[in-house]
Symmetry: C2
Subunit: 186 residues, 2 copies
């Protein structure tokens, strides 16, 4: 909930957004609702490596979106590290959202990895528009989760302070709860 | 700025608040503005151990507040660990705010310490109303700052998850920037 509030400070109707890990589609749905407007300029590019994730997302969008809204979203069966292959060149992306870890309700052994996550963060950095946001939810409770968080933290800590505001939000009395990381581009 | 937005989600007109470390008075001023209303029920109890801090706060309030608003605030020359001596018993306190470290623009060798900060946090926990907030800004760039943050973090991490939401907000690419810690009581 906190995450979506932050998104609303950044995203405007008509913006182009990337859901780098669409999972069960909840974020994709929220994104389409944020960018949808009369002129149908907004776009959401959503991707996942898992077929079941794309199916769940498709079902959710099919149920919750109007015909016009459905026109605004495209689903891709690719790794988030390849987002530049599906986002048209030159499109200013206002938000790239990541949900790292495993698919909620899915196979917990299928997880994002530090290696592709780092490549995906670098891609997100290249396509993000000024005043854009990279939003990352990092699950730290599964094997490899803590290591992946360290990869994200290292990436964020090296972004220049003149161009980026990088912060993380952690629950101090729930050490295994997901960590939110926000990278705001000036 | 982020901190004040969070406060506004918690504080209502007519509430009683504690500024545990009034410093130059900016937070005290913001607090009075948040609680002030026609019936003059709101109260802000502000304290500091440094005489210069209380003088700066008094000057700022004198300049920025109306006569009615000035009636809502009381300044005390005591340590934050003794807040229970100045807040009337039974008053439900909606917000206790801490700015740990040294007085901005003041003597950097005069700092809050882990020992009294821990006592003050325990006092704040006792007087806080349900749906209240303990807000802590921890400066980590001065000697002892990191240790004080660890004290705050340890305190927060032990609060029961059923009754408290404890989170911290850190700038990842500015490791010496102050850390925000919010302890929300359910």
């Amino acid at each position: 909930m906190c995450k979506n509030r932050v998104w609303k400070h950044v995203v405007k109707e008509g913006d182009s957004l990337v859901d780098a890990t669409c999972g069960n589609g909840n974020d994709t749905l929220a994104m389409v609702k944020m960018v949808a407007e009369k002129s149908c300029r907004g776009r959401v590019y959503a991707m996942d490596v898992q077929k079941i994730a794309l199916e769940n997302t498709f079902s959710l969008l099919d149920e919750e979106l109007s015909t016009d809204e459905k026109e605004l979203v495209e689903l891709f069966a690719i790794c988030h590290c390849k987002m530049e292959e599906v986002v048209p060149t030159g499109v200013p992306v206002r938000l790239v959202a990541f949900n790292l870890g495993y698919l909620p309700g899915g196979d917990k052994t299928l997880v994002t990895t530090s290696e592709t996550t780092l490549l995906a963060l670098e891609a997100a950095k290249r396509i993000l528009a000024p005043q854009g946001l990279i939003s990352i939810v990092v699950y730290v409770g599964h094997p490899g989760g803590r290591e992946e968080f360290e990869t994200v933290r290292a990436f964020a800590s090296e972004l220049p302070v003149d161009n980026w505001i990088c912060c993380n939000l952690q629950l101090l009395n729930r050490p295994l709860a997901p960590v939110l990381v926000f990278l705001f581009k000036r």
